[in-house]
Amino acid sequence: MNILRWWGGILVAFALLAVMRIFLPLPFVNEVMIFSIYTMGCNFLLGRVGFISFGQPAYLAAGAYATAFYLFYFGTNPYIGLLVGIAGGALVSLVVGPLFVRLRSDYFALVNLALAVIIFYLMQKVLAGITQGDNGLWFLTNIASTPVLDLSKPNEFFIFVFIVALAVWAFYKYLDDTIYGACCLGTKVNEDKVRFLGYSNFKIRLTAFVIANTTTALAGALYAIYLGFVSPEISSPSRAADPVVVTILGGVGTLYGPIVGAVAYTGMKDLISNLIGNWELFIGLLLVIIMLAGEKGIWGTLEPRLKKLVFRGRGAPTVNEGKARVG
């Protein structure tokens, strides 16, 4: 019964995503899935460790370009490309992590954004010989068909990305229940107490940083394989706020937040840019309004009401997950 409860919410959420697949166009659903993986990393950093990062595109680009390099120059197997992308992201975050996590959270955000800009210029100008600058790397035809799940077909790519998103989500959910997850929340709320208990804040933060950014790199690698194309635009500073916006849109620190946020954000982006073409104005206003209204986001506002609805017949809610953990 406990296991069922552990899985209950997410099975419903992902079932809804699967249903979405039937009613909505495939590219939209694919983008939502990848975007929610992208956001999960940011959500973990912001909601659990209290680090706000405007530099997520840097790690997204690290993953995407590592995959692109492999598929463009060396091999044809997208699965290996995916692994290369993950390794690339982990490497970058391991190199910059020890430097960055020592900083206060305000400096942290600024330094990360600077890193995103640097990677953007690195890919656009400095390494133009390898990355072909603004033209980007095109390798859609290089991706070989694979047995079982053929990633070169959008249809089967959806199934794969679905499984990956579910796995990533389950991983974060598992992390929440471990002592390590509690430590993360501890460093956010009161780092002195964590130190008194004998844990190293630095190690906790570094691990969290690497985990979150490897997730982001995974999303980057998925983007690369899905689009078959990578350009410096992926780490463009003007898109730096996207994951933060989605995280806040969905609700910071909630487990379903990234999925809700990704659906809402991608949907709005498509709808509004079709209607008026000036969607920055709208998203900026929305962000300010959500922040002023109490930064709970869509899911954070909906959750208590949904609970009431579901548990009305069965007395008080027993599962207090999410609400108790929202930092």
Binding site: I52, V117, I118, S238, G284, L286
Partner: protein, 290 residues
């Protein structure tokens, strides 16, 4: 060895670009020092200043009038934003202000796109004259920009050290509760500081406009450099901001003489180096969120 003429031109170029960075970074730095907010919307006032300069100089033919209107508009917009938004969030966490101001920045870029469209606009340089320094021709306009930045620094210094309001602001940077306890209206102090910051950002935009093309994304393009200036100098320190602005300006300018892509990379490397030695920047104190 590098050509001397090229070197002199490079140094002047670096000083002028550093001046622009300084004018923008000072707003971020002051806001952080006094209100403990990170006000990314300063980059919006910079874009607004540049666009107003473009429109006014197109209409009247005088670029200096445009700069005046631009800085006034920067001040007015920042006043409105402070009243509508920031007033409600001073009490909140610092990341909160960062996200909110980023929302304002993106929203503002949307407004700019609505009014002026996506096409980059040129602004004519008001002073075409060149002046010879050690046998190198230097555009006078760049020297004027440097002089204006130094005047602003002197003005800010005098304001903070010689006037009551300035002294109150400095005291507020140390401890805002004590200032409040002395019966000084702190919320008015905040408004004044925010307007000063917005006005200076508008001025930076207006002065920068003739040197580059004015386009909706211009704020986001200088974002990284302004951040680096603020981080290297230390959040909340005026002197540190001046030093690091000129440092970053020189690194950008001289770096691009040695190897073009270095212009964007070198400041980042320097920033990492300084953060390694001193995580709060050159002149930053160990101020934490109160």
């Amino acid at each position: 060895m590098m050509d001397t003429q090229l070197l002199i031109a490079g140094v002047i170029f670096g000083l002028s670009i550093g001046s622009i960075f300084f004018l923008m970074a000072i707003g971020l730095s002051l806001c952080f020092g006094l209100m403990r907010i990170i006000s990314l919307d300063q980059l919006l006032y910079y874009s607004i200043g540049a666009y107003i300069t473009y429109s006014v100089s197109l209409a009247t033919g005088s670029m200096w009038l445009g700069v005046l209107c631009g800085l006034a508009m920067g001040g007015i917009t920042s006043f409105a934003v402070e009243r509508l938004v920031f007033r409600r969030i001073y009490e909140r966490d610092i990341t909160f202000s960062m996200i909110t101001s980023f929302g304002i920045l993106i929203g503002g870029v949307g407004v700019i796109k609505f009014f002026w469209g996506l096409v980059p606009r040129p602004v004519p340089i008001p002073i075409d004259a060149q002046v010879g320094i050690f046998g190198t021709d230097i555009p006078v306009y760049r020297l004027v920009v440097i002089v204006i930045a130094l005047l602003v620094y002197a003005g800010i210094w005098l304001f903070l050290n010689r006037t009551i309001i300035g002294k109150a602001i400095r005291a507020g940077i140390e401890n805002v509760e004590h200032v409040e306890g002395l019966g000084i209206n702190v919320s008015r102090l905040f408004t004044i500081t925010f307007i000063i910051a917005g006005t200076l950002s508008g001025l930076a935009g207006g002065l920068h406009a003739p040197l580059i093309m004015v386009d909706p994304q211009m704020g986001l393009e200088v974002l990284a450099f302004v951040f680096m200036v603020v981080i290297i100098g230390g959040l909340g320190s005026i002197k540190g901001t001046l030093v690091s602005a000129f440092l970053v300006g020189q690194v950008v300018s001289l770096g691009s003489l040695v190897y073009a892509p270095l212009a964007q990379m070198a400041p980042f490397a320097i920033m990492l180096l300084i953060l390694l030695v001193k995580p709060t920047g050159l002149y930053g104190s160990t101020l934490v969120k109160r």
